[in-house]
């Protein structure tokens, strides 16, 4: 029922792990010993080695993954009732298997909360056990025998390994020994990406002022700023922007030179402070391509923007910023989004709300928020297409701002709709510009009620999914990529989404000590490709941000429900692949026939068939010409 949420690592490595278990174990052991919990680790590791002899595990362990405990347990399946089976806990996952083919494969990173259910004296069948809340839209309940504190060891182990950072342990990404052909850390090189955009220009320059994260500790080291602005100007502006997140260029339109700039709110405060440097800085941005009026998109509802003045923030007033117009996009904050997704989970898990499904869906407001984010991004993209530069911010400029700029860039720039380009987009707008992944997801942290947690990135991926739904031929990647990204957003198997910003990643040596998610993806890129992809480079995609066209991403949010048919391939895709194969086969046959016939008119065809041996994703149009 539970699908393996990740593809198997490369086969050779997987085979090695079983053979070399002891060797690897020693290697990881030496690392672990730095921590106080060494003794505990030793005991459990020893136990796991013992059980390994007893029973082979049905799932292939990852290199660096170790078994910690096995236990006979009852899984209270919400769909098919209680099932007896065995649970295996490793330092990476919880794996459950029962004889009649119920399996669960849950990366520990996806676990948000572990609780004891019932007590030793609880009455009723299966009332004593564990209750696990996951970040990926499911809950798991296990029941154990009531005698002899049978759940104590498993609870303790689960609690430790699911929340390693709260227990002084390392995240699994630092223990993983996975090797891939591709190095995902080389996917995004800021200089290369800016060069692709045609930067620097005579109006925009690249600055290294933040090389040591001194200007802004949550920004990347390489920034693009107006040519006219000096380093001194930047420093002055940074004092007037929340957390020093000054307006910097995210994207430039090749033809009309209109730019998307991102930043945080100005520190206007109750007294309505002004800052001449900030005002002049925005003026310089406006002048760069002769935009008559610079549009500032404040992602927040205006009420919230006003309220922020009380805490020293605020928004750009009409009177102070002469040539700018301010537009509020009415997107709510992280707390609203968190509650919204929580409500959504309530109506889809374990069972889909039966009566008044649509009204229930509406009452979660989830799609409404999606609509607002999308329509905000459409407005940004539309302004840019019209040749006007824009500045986008919210409060701190790392949640809603990232959503808006990256979605607008996805609409405007077809490069970001390719498999590699999309990775660059995430690396750039989300990871390098300091979306607080660690705080929003709570990697390895036991504090499940942390108010900083919020599914902002999930919401963004949902927006992307809505776009791929509306434009099924415009994206090179498929739904599977989006699902994989979300799975590893939580899993802690890769370093990609760890930590809040680049400076923290540097300190923790993420790039050298962990594997990038893009290593996994790019080593097996064919399974993330959309066969219908038709590149159209100069096209701006405007999705329709109407509730009429927005739909719940059923295959993600309701994927644990067995009633939702999980198709590996959509029927349309399946049919398409069949036809592609058939076409290749016929072409081959025809070529053979023509070789034997050697008829003079058919030379054209045999030429074309040669090129058709290429992969099905490379679409070849020459066959339209009548023979």
């Amino acid at each position: 029922m539970a699908r393996a949420v990740f593809s198997s690592p490369n086969a050779a490595a997987a085979a090695n792990i079983l053979v070399n278990f002891a060797v690897l174990h020693i290697a990881t052991w030496s690392r672990k010993s730095q921590f106080n919990s060494a003794l505990m680790c030793f005991r459990t590791a020893a136990a796991s080695r013992e059980s390994l002899k007893m029973e082979p595990l049905a799932v292939t362990l990852l290199p660096g993954e170790e078994r910690v405990i096995d236990k006979d347990i009852m899984y209270i399946c919400p769909f098919s009732g209680p099932v007896k089976g065995k649970v295996f806990i490793t330092n990476y996952r919880l794996y459950f298997k029962s004889d009649p083919s119920v399996t669960l494969n849950v990366p520990l990173g996806a676990i948000g909360r572990v609780e004891k259910m019932g007590g030793a004296s609880s009455r009723g069948e299966n009332s004593y056990g564990l209750d696990i809340t996951c970040k990926d839209m499911r809950n798991l309940r296990f029941a154990l025998k009531q005698e002899g504190h049978s759940r104590r060891d498993i609870f303790d182990i689960l609690f430790r390994y699911a929340f390693p950072l709260s227990h002084g342990l390392l995240l699994f990404a630092y223990l993983s020994q996975e090797k891939y052909e591709e190095n995902g850390w080389s996917v995004y090189k800021p200089m290369e990406e800016f060069r692709r955009q045609g930067l620097p220009t005579d109006k925009w320059r690249i600055t290294f002022i933040n090389d040591n994260y001194e200007l802004c500790d949550t920004y990347p080291t390489i920034l693009v700023v107006p040519f006219k602005a000096t380093e001194e100007d930047l420093r002055k502006v940074s004092t007037f922007r929340s957390r020093g997140r000054i307006p910097v260029l995210s994207w430039i339109h090749r033809e009309n030179q209109a730019v998307i700039c991102r930043c945080s709110q100005p520190l206007v405060g109750m007294s309505g402070k002004r800052n001449k440097d900030d005002e002049r800085y925005l003026e310089v941005i406006r002048e760069a391509n002769g935009t008559a009026k610079l549009t500032i998109y404040d992602a927040r509802p205006s009420v919230n923007a006003v309220a922020n003045k009380a805490t020293g923030g605020g928004y750009e007033g009409d009177d102070t910023y002469q040539n700018a117009e301010l537009v509020f996009l009415d997107i709510h904050n992280i707390h609203v989004m968190r509650e919204s997704l929580k409500k959504l989970k309530d109506i889809v898990y374990p069972n889909v709300e039966e009566s008044h499904w649509l009204s229930s869906l509406e009452s979660t407001h989830w799609l409404e928020h999606i609509k607002l984010v999308l329509s905000g991004a459409i407005q940004v993209a539309d302004k840019i297409s019209g040749g006007n530069s824009v500045v986008v911010h919210c409060s701190d400029g790392w949640d809603r701002t990232a959503q808006l700029t990256s979605l607008a860039m996805l609409m405007l720039d077809s490069h970001y709709r390719t498999l590699r380009g999309f990775q660059v987009l995430l690396e750039k707008e989300w990871i390098s510009f300091g979306h607080k992944f660690a705080s929003r997801i709570g990697h390895g942290d036991k504090n499940h009620a942390d108010q900083d947690r919020s599914p902002i990135f999930v919401q963004f991926i949902d927006c992307v999914w809505q776009m791929t739904k509306q434009f099924p031929t415009a994206f090179e990647f498929n739904e599977r990529l989006l699902m994989t990204i979300l799975d590893h957003l939580f899993s802690c198997r890769f370093g990609t989404f760890l930590y809040n910003c680049e400076s923290a990643r540097d300190t923790n040596e993420v790039r050298s000590k962990t594997v990038s998610l893009w290593s996994l993806v790019n080593s097996d890129s064919t399974s993330y490709l959309n066969p219908f992809y038709t590149p159209e480079s100069s096209r701006v995609l405007y999705p329709v941000a109407s509730m009429r066209h927005l739909e719940l991403w059923v295959t993600y949010y309701i994927r644990w429900n067995p009633r939702i048919r999980q198709q590996q391939q959509s029927p349309v895709e399946q049919r398409y692949m069949e036809l592609l194969a058939l076409r290749d086969e016929y072409l081959k046959k025809l070529e053979e026939l023509q070789l034997t016939d050697s008829s003079p008119n058919s030379s054209h065809l045999s030429n074309s068939s040669a090129s058709n041996a290429a992969s099905p994703t490379q679409h070849i149009n020459h066959l339209h010409t009548p023979f």
């Binding site: 709510h332 889909v352 609509k371 108010q451 109407s546 009429r548 398409y576 076409r583």
Partner: protein, 727 residues
């Protein structure tokens, strides 16, 4: 001139309209035609009145922009002919009416100034300056009459209201004058297959196509007094069958119905000991009035004459949709059909569905059951014969239900549309199982309101027969020949008709059937027909094993044969349906086998193509499902071309290739479309050639966004959870 009518005989070239109107009609027409344009009139079409310098607003309202032209009312349509040069030919052009034409029966409501609903009979000497016409195919037209001559404006307004809204006689419907003036080739015989196959099976066939067993005497039949006779619909390969009837009393002394039913069962069922389950549809399904009420609320969401209002309503879209109940009615019908399928397939009981009149929801449920069980009905030809069998011959009162005549005492209700909606749900869940496309269903739903086709103009076969006979110009000879809706060439040329086939559909791969049949029973056409020659023990059902069947055969007593189904409100039924669905779902999906719909909330959806096609603001330019399907069609075209090439080389292809010799010809049409026009989500109904690429930006977002309860407090807070940042 008129001699050409006789000599034409067949339907060779499409005759020009002039040949078919009487001289005086020509006279009356020719006068205005000198100064005014008018559309190419159809044979038998007569212009009643017209007005020039009428302004037709373009759909983006408020701007008050539009085009001037002539508005006409004929005996077939309301037509607007623009003064400007005609736009380019549309790919998907209807030959009977154009994009600015509204067949009279297609007019739903007319609104005057200040959106006041105009009703027939009340129109005196006044006329509104602005007239809004809502069409049954969901188009919306807005005309301004204030620039026309007062006399003309009054005349056209009153003419339109009179001909569109006021009661009229059936003879006034355009079909009659159209058919008198066309020489339409012989009538279409739909159920040849049924006739032939059933005749050999021990049934008497009544002239109006219903089947009763041979051993039923005429006396038995007359006791029904023409009402409530149970009719055989379909036989499952296990031997049990589906019947439908108008409500009959079941428990009765010396009960005739049961005697008849017994005879019927003896004739139909392979094993007549099977029990009979009766389902009274009126117990559980909504009434025809409920259906109308719900649909009327539902359609309002799509009849948009004001984009601001449209965007205002967007935020409340889901709950509005929920409250109108239309999707729920669809779900209930599908659920009932699944229950019947379960009885036939899993329990192997005969099922008798009944309802007052026996020709509304009985038709919906029985046709859905057959569609789910029998892959034949998912082909173009099969679907057509299903509609003919269950709806046309089954006596669905098309005339009353569509209320073309605007008679007060008739119950209008979109029952047939409801059926098409259910089919669409099945189709969008299991695309490759259907030979016909979504476009086919949409066009079929539009055709109900084109008063040309005999299919939808009558209440039953007898009605049709007597009227066509009476209206025939040559009384001694054959009845009037009218086209059926199935003759698609009346409406569309070949290229457009290509869009009716589903490129995902593959015919069932031919296999070594002798081997396969022995272990996996199939829903083959032959098996689903009652056959007295078919003496082998009942085939294994999808879920049953042989032992179960034997038990049933031995254990069931005649007395216990009649079972009233438990009330479907009980949770038991719905959980049983759920189990049935889940058991089916775990099996590998066979598109040529049993097909069940998922009834969960997210699975029942709005038929976007039909309902959103005319709304400019929600067109996905360059997107929509068609973007993907057209790529499939493209490759299909290439494969077909390659097959032809190989054929020319004399290479015989093995037949086990899926997609080999597909009948789908979709490719050419879509490729042609791609080259000239940007596809959009409303393909093929609207082509996006002239549209601006400006995105639609929802207006008034803030006002309508309501964040309630706890979220309300959260909304005021700052993004970071720390206490210092709380407002």
């Amino acid at each position: 001139m008129l001699s050409s009518l006789g000599s034409a005989g067949g339907k060779s070239a499409k005759p020009s309209f002039v040949s078919y109107v009487t001289p005086e009609e020509i006279k009356s027409e020719k006068e205005p035609s000198r100064k005014e344009k008018h559309p190419d009139l159809l044979p038998g079409e007569v212009v009643f009145c017209s007005a020039s310098t009428v302004l037709k607003y373009t759909q983006d309202d408020l701007s008050q922009r539009g085009v001037f032209g002539v508005l006409l009312c004929t005996n077939f349509r309301v037509s607007f002919v623009s003064d400007e040069a005609p736009t380019e030919e549309m790919l998907f052009k209807n030959k009977l009416y154009g994009e600015n034409d509204i067949p009279l029966s297609c007019v739903d409501n007319i609104y005057g100034d200040k959106r006041k609903l105009i009703t027939g009979g009340l129109v005196k000497n006044k006329y509104p300056s602005k007239m809004i016409i809502h069409c049954k195919d969901l188009r919306v037209f807005q005309f301004s009459l204030s620039f026309s001559k007062e006399e003309d404006a009054k005349k056209i307004f009153q003419g339109i209201v009179h001909h569109c809204l006021e009661p009229k006689s059936l003879r006034c419907l355009f079909a009659f004058s159209y058919c008198e003036n066309t020489s339409y080739p012989g009538s279409y015989s739909y159920c040849r297959e049924h006739l032939v196959s059933s005749r050999s099976l021990g049934f008497l066939l009544f002239p109006v196509y219903f089947i009763v067993p041979k051993n039923v005497s005429d006396e038995d039949l007359t006791k029904y007094q023409g009402k409530g006779l149970p009719m055989w619909c379909w036989s499952h390969h296990s031997g049990c069958a589906l019947f439908k009837t108008a409500s009959i009393p079941l428990v009765q002394e010396d009960n005739v119905p049961q005697t008849y039913m017994e005879k019927m069962l003896t004739a139909v069922a392979h094993n007549h000991l099977y029990s009979v389950k009766t389902e009274d549809l009126s117990d559980t399904l909504p009434t025809v009035q409920d259906i109308l009420l719900s649909y009327n609320r539902f359609k309002q969401f799509f009849l948009i004459d004001n984009t601001t209002e449209f965007w205002m309503s967007d935020m409340k879209w889901f709950s509005s949709l929920d409250n109108c109940g239309w999707l729920d009615i669809i779900r209930q019908c599908l659920q009932k059909a699944v229950e019947v399928v379960e009885s036939l397939e899993k329990e192997n009981t005969n099922v008798l569905i009944m309802e007052e009149g026996g020709s509304d929801l009985c038709c919906v449920v029985s046709s859905l059951v057959q569609l789910m069980l029998d892959p034949y009905y998912r082909t173009l030809l099969g679907f057509q014969s299903l509609v003919q069998k269950e709806w046309v011959a089954g006596g669905h009162a098309f005339l009353d239900r569509s209320n073309h005549l605007h008679l007060k005492d008739k119950v209008e209700s979109p029952v047939f549309l409801l059926f098409l909606e259910c089919v669409w749900q099945l189709q969008q869940q299991h695309g490759p199982a259907f030979q016909f496309s979504e476009t086919y269903l949409t066009v079929l739903s539009d055709s109900i309101h084109v008063p040309v086709f005999t299919t939808f103009l009558f209440n039953n076969d007898g009605h049709r027969d007597s009227l066509l006979r009476a209206e025939s110009p040559h009384t001694q000879r054959s009845p009037l020949n009218c086209p059926t809706v199935w003759d698609w060439s009346v409406q569309f040329d070949c290229k457009a008709q290509d869009l009716f086939t589903n490129p995902l559909y593959t015919e069932k791969p031919k296999q070594d059937t002798s081997v396969r049949k022995s272990y996996r029973p199939r829903h083959l056409r032959q098996l689903s027909l009652p056959s007295s020659a078919f003496k082998t023990p009942p085939k294994k059902g999808f879920f049953k094993d042989e032992a179960d069947n034997l038990k049933k055969i031995l254990g069931v007593k005649r007395l216990s044969r009649w079972m009233l189904s438990p009330s479907s409100d009980s949770p038991q039924t719905s959980s049983s349906v759920r189990e049935f669905y889940e058991a089916w779902q775990t099996k590998p999906l066979d598109y040529h086998g049993l097909l069940l719909p998922c009834l969960d909330g997210p699975s029942i959806r709005v038929w976007m193509q039909r309902y959103l096609r005319w709304i400019h603001d929600v067109q996905i330019l360059g997107g929509g499902p068609v973007a993907m399907l057209s790529k499939v069609s493209e490759i299909l075209g290439e494969v077909q071309e390659l097959q032809r090439q190989l054929d020319r080389h004399g290479c015989t292809l093995t037949s086990n290739h899926k997609g080999a010799r597909p009948r789908a010809k979709t490719a050419a049409a879509v490729i042609a479309a791609r080259s000239s026009v940007r596809l959009s989500s409303s393909f093929p109904f609207v082509t996006s050639r002239n549209w601006s690429f400006k995105p639609a930006i929802p207006t008034s977002l803030l006002q309508s966004l309501m964040v309630t309860g706890m979220a309300g407090n959260l909304a005021d807070r700052e993004d970071d959870g720390g206490p210092e940042s709380l407002v």
